[in-house]
Symmetry: C2
Subunit: 217 residues, 2 copies
Amino acid sequence: GHAVIVGWNERAREVLLRLARQDASMRFVLIDATVPSHPLSDVPVHFIKGLASDDAVLEKANIREARFLLITADPHKAEAEADKDTIVTLLAAKSLNPSVYAIVEILTSRNVQNAFRAGADEVIQTNLLASFAMTASLRSPGAASVWETALHRLDGQTLRLLEPDEQQIGQPFAAVQQQLLKQNVALLGVIHGDHRAISVAPDRPIQQSDRLFVLAP
Amino acid sequence: GHAVIVGWNERAREVLLRLARQDASMRFVLIDATVPSHPLSDVPVHFIKGLASDDAVLEKANIREARFLLITADPHKAEAEADKDTIVTLLAAKSLNPSVYAIVEILTSRNVQNAFRAGADEVIQTNLLASFAMTASLRSPGAASVWETALHRLDGQTLRLLEPDEQQIGQPFAAVQQQLLKQNVALLGVIHGDHRAISVAPDRPIQQSDRLFVLAP
Ligand SMILES: [Ca+2]
Ligand SMILES: [Ca+2]
């Protein structure tokens, strides 16, 4: 299964470069209506020029066999307009392939729910991420930029959310953190099943519904 | 010292709402040329209509006595154009008040260095943050959205970067993590002085040049 990426912009470029470095086996199809030709010659991407909301263009991208769909927001449009484009494209893609795992970028908070209604599996709220970084920097100068620097320099490592395996369930956080360290995986915290808290309490046993928030190679 | 915020958009709205909830003592001046009147009546913000690159407008915002300056990118412009506006405004503000702590949002990677040359203290690369989230989700479905959900629900808590205090220096990571937990502060990891690694090794002693990456109330 390949990944279909909609929209050529700075974010798509970063994602393609990073993924191509990290996982050489992943195949990509890029759909964009504005750039005239293949924009990234050094990454193995199949480029299709056209509107991604058009069924024929999605078929050309072999959406029916795609595993992932990433729709990025069009930076040339007003925020609400870009979100509407995204939602229409998502509806078209999900009707052709209901099981594609769809990650969509949404700019306006009022369209987040609409994206989920249209079948999004994940919504990336870029403005929310940016505002968290801005708020962190205003409250604690340096926070956002060091976080960014760290993420950037730790290139090849990725923030991941792992399900605990059978062995880890029931063990204290600190013990699991130690075990993971031996595999060069940094366990930053545990996200409780209800998503309401991040815990780093060393003695708290890992539960089946927990997710391990890690920085992994 | 107040905070001057340039540009009215989704990010500025989130930042103002979040900061006003978290710290009632902070005062804000918002500069925007496009909205006709005060856009956020329930937050104590002084609104100035005008172009922030104009010295007279910056003087009206009392930039000379401001402690913080946050310049957000104009979502109505092309990415490179928005960045140029940001850099020109930053130059004007820093010439009126060289000691204002300037946090600027930059959209194109090629303008990051220009922003630092113009005096930025921190650069928020929104596209980079978004692409990290997208990459994480493509490699580990669920990662980005749970991280976002967690940040959102843990409202009132903030990611911060703390300098270790005298007492903490020399103590093992695990001991400092335990101490901070008693103050409801989750120590997620330690960023080494050279920014090249995030460590969660429990036995590694905290060093003076380390920064503690925490989630704090
Ligand atoms: Ca679904
Ligand atoms: Ca400076």
